[in-house]
Assembly symmetry: C2
Homo-oligomer: 199 residues x 2
Amino acid sequence: MTEYSTIPARKGAGTRLLSGQSVIVRNTHGEQVVDTWAFSTEDMTEFMSMEHSRARLLKLIPGVGDSLVTNRRRPILTITEDTSGGVHDTLMAACDRYRYEQLGHVGHHDSCTDNLHDALAALGLTPPDVPSPLNLFMNVPISNDGALSFAAPPAMPGGYVTLRAEMDCVVVFSSCPQDMLPVNGANCVPTDAHFRVVG
Amino acid sequence: MTEYSTIPARKGAGTRLLSGQSVIVRNTHGEQVVDTWAFSTEDMTEFMSMEHSRARLLKLIPGVGDSLVTNRRRPILTITEDTSGGVHDTLMAACDRYRYEQLGHVGHHDSCTDNLHDALAALGLTPPDVPSPLNLFMNVPISNDGALSFAAPPAMPGGYVTLRAEMDCVVVFSSCPQDMLPVNGANCVPTDAHFRVVG
């Protein structure tokens, strides 16, 4: 059995999965959003797509038993376990330097978009694009009139999601560095998360 | 004043807009979904993004006065008028050949994704990607538990949306060819729509 790998606070990490393997993504300290991407190993222009997954699943938030699909509508990751409470987001773009500039930050700020590039570069890969991520543990309440907000995640420490690969793929995780909105808890302090490949 | 151009039933059409110009998109016969994309003229890798727009607007469906933004979070199109009833969609991917195959269609079927490519090719351009479109007039009801469905649009004949360009851009429209679900009305018969550049 492999050990857990760290997704350092504010940073990203990635790994290759063979079809049939799973990855456990653990919200070690609770309240930490983990932006998640998956790309086909065979052809990285095929990747997990939130807009195609919503059309297939006919739901805003995927749950246990649901397969996320690619931009060619093929299953790539299936949620097989979720002990986090099931609050996730498929609506929001990954944060990026433009986001932090607009929030008033001056100078460098880590971002999930940069983390995607860095994590893939560490594997010798380049993303063809920045797909809209599966934002594990992210809490985006939706009111009856369709208004959205950014709220602290209800996820408790140690909660996890297990994702099974439905094709050979590269998955990337980013411990979201958002510290200007309560995306990662009311204290706005991003923390480490962890993942482990099984199977 | 320019004449209306046709977005033929099941097909696409595009045009260039200068910053400050507007385009009126008319649901001529009612109940017709028009998938809409916008790319920066200067650099087509900057394009209108639904996931970035939702994060900015904090709503699922943009309305009059709302600016859609690009994947660099800059305004690209602003909705300045809407006589259609205001039912639109930002959640669903453009239809594509994989979609129709999965619905059971055999052989060629027009798709909004192919229409995007064709409309840009007619302007001598190639999309860097297939962004998630602004689905004008599309009706995707959302239940309280986050379940989604595809329903007939309530848009009446002649209803229109006016979009003002906030940067020089290329806009593409597709009269959605979906005829296997009631996306374009209960009769499942796609129709022509029209657009006109003003200013």
